[in-house]
């Protein structure tokens, strides 16, 4: 290796890089025409330079790909991701089921269904002290036998019906879907109890009055009455659940 070789190599590099001056270019082209070894050297340089660049490009691509794979490996594994995805799917399914359940509940919501779920035969057989008034005993028998119209007829024939008779008549009206009269009867029971020490069917009257409003389609009044019963913590509060009140509120809102 001598300086001349190195200078020639630099000239070839500059020629390939296109960085020769005009003067150098003229000189170099002249040399190329005259010197076969320079032409051969140039050819080799061209091939080698191209191959070195290709070699470096391949290394760069391999390095980038290697980094990408390392980054992928550092991410949460597919299994963890799929577990999260699975959990999300289950949660979504549960939410959908809940929504579907409520949608069905709302779609089938009706005053009649709510009423039928809460009405049950009234118990009027236990009387305190003496056997009670003769008329009351008769009307109780008629109610128990399901002869509601007769109960109503007998009640209307009475000049001064008792609290018991009025309460039983209220139930008969309710059974006969005469809700206005049932409401009037249960309100009368409430009034009568207000003015006496001998209170009877107090909680029952509240409950059946609320039921009468429900049956009559006055959901606003029914809701207020049932909410009061639940808040009273009395014997009938156990029949007024939160879900029932929710449905009643929905019914009131929808109407």
């Amino acid at each position: 290796m001598n300086d001349k070789d190195i200078v020639r190599a630099s000239m070839i590099d500059s020629y390939l890089a296109g960085s020769l001056t005009d003067e150098e270019m003229i000189y170099f082209n002249k040399q190329l025409q005259e010197d076969a070894s320079l032409r051969a050297a140039l050819e080799n340089y061209e091939i080698s330079r191209d191959a070195v660049r290709n070699y470096a490009l391949r290394n760069d691509l391999r390095h980038i790909r290697h980094q990408m794979k390392q980054e992928e490996a550092a991410k949460p594994s597919g299994k963890q991701v799929s577990l999260w995805q699975y959990a999300a799917k289950v949660a979504a399914a549960v939410v959908l089921l809940i929504i579907a359940f409520f949608a069905i509940q709302m779609a089938t919501l009706s005053g009649e269904r709510l009423y039928n779920g809460k009405v049950f035969p009234v118990e009027v057989w236990t009387t305190r002290g003496a056997a009670g008034l003769q008329e009351d005993q008769a009307i109780k028998v008629l109610l128990a036998s399901g002869n509601y119209q007769q109960v109503i007829d007998d009640y209307q024939a009475q000049f001064d019906p008792s609290v018991t008779a009025t309460f039983i008549a209220g139930n008969a009206y309710l059974q006969q879907d005469m809700t206005d009269k049932a409401i009037a009867a249960f309100k009368k029971v409430e009034d009568m109890n207000t003015n006496t020490q001998d209170k009877r069917f107090v909680e029952e009257a509240h409950y059946y009055l609320a039921l009468s409003y429900l049956r009559g389609g006055d959901y606003d009044q029914a809701l207020r009455r049932f909410e009061a019963i639940k808040a009273s913590d009395g014997n009938y509060s156990q029949y007024v659940g939160s879900y029932f009140l929710l449905k009643l509120r929905a019914l009131d809102w929808l109407n």
Binding site: N44, Y45, S48, A51, V52, Y55, A56, I64
Partner: protein, 201 residues
């Protein structure tokens, strides 16, 4: 190249800029690797073949882009598919040990198909020289890469390589290049491959 999606023109432009190679190559992997890999997997190849072929496809593509041989006649996706198909057919021929080699590279009417077949053939020839580069020492490889690929000045190279001065770096680079060229001179077949390509081009 802004945002997540790049146009073909943006990719071609970015591939000319060494500083954007990483971003562009990552984007090409993210956008095209899976579909190209599926082609290999469904055509007698395995995952490793798919990985190797995509790497090789990118090399051919980038080299063709640098030679201005991707002219946008087709989309990059179509172009990559065509490169990979050519590479894979060649590979399958090698594996089946058929003596057949395509002596005429340009038997397709599509212009871009001709460019692709030229690029694939060029890469085959380059691989022979890469075998010679591998025989060089690590310092030689490094100095040649810094000079010809990174396009660093001798002043920067002597600092980076820890040489005494710029002249030492210049001498070293000369020696390495001479060693490579001597190996080339002794491998007539490799030189002939390149000459054929230059004539065909």
């Amino acid at each position: 190249m802004k945002g997540k999606g790049f146009t073909d023109a943006e990719i071609v432009e970015a591939l000319q800029d060494a500083s954007r190679l990483d971003t562009t190559v990552r984007y090409l992997y993210q956008t095209h690797f899976e579909s190209l890999a599926n082609f290999i997997r469904t055509n007698s190849g395995n995952d490793q073949d798919a990985e190797d072929l995509f790497h090789e496809t990118l090399v051919v593509f980038i080299e063709l882009v640098k030679q201005q041989k991707f002219r946008g006649d087709s989309s990059i996706k179509t172009f990559l598919y065509a490169i990979q198909r050519n590479l894979w057919l060649n590979e399958l021929k090698k594996r089946s040990r058929t003596s057949y080699r395509e002596t005429t590279y340009y038997d397709k009417s599509e212009k871009y198909e001709r460019d692709i077949q030229y690029g694939v053939a060029q890469e085959e020839a380059r691989k022979q020289v890469l075998g010679l580069i591998d025989k060089l020492g690590e310092n030689c490889k490094k100095i040649l890469v810094l000079f010809y690929y990174e396009e660093m000045s001798m002043k920067d190279i002597f600092r980076q390589m820890g040489y005494e001065n710029e002249q030492v770096a210049r001498n070293m680079k000369y020696k390495c290049m001479k060693k490579l060229n001597d190996m080339l001179d002794s491998d007539v077949a490799v030189k002939q491959l390149f000459k054929n390509l230059l004539v065909d081009e």
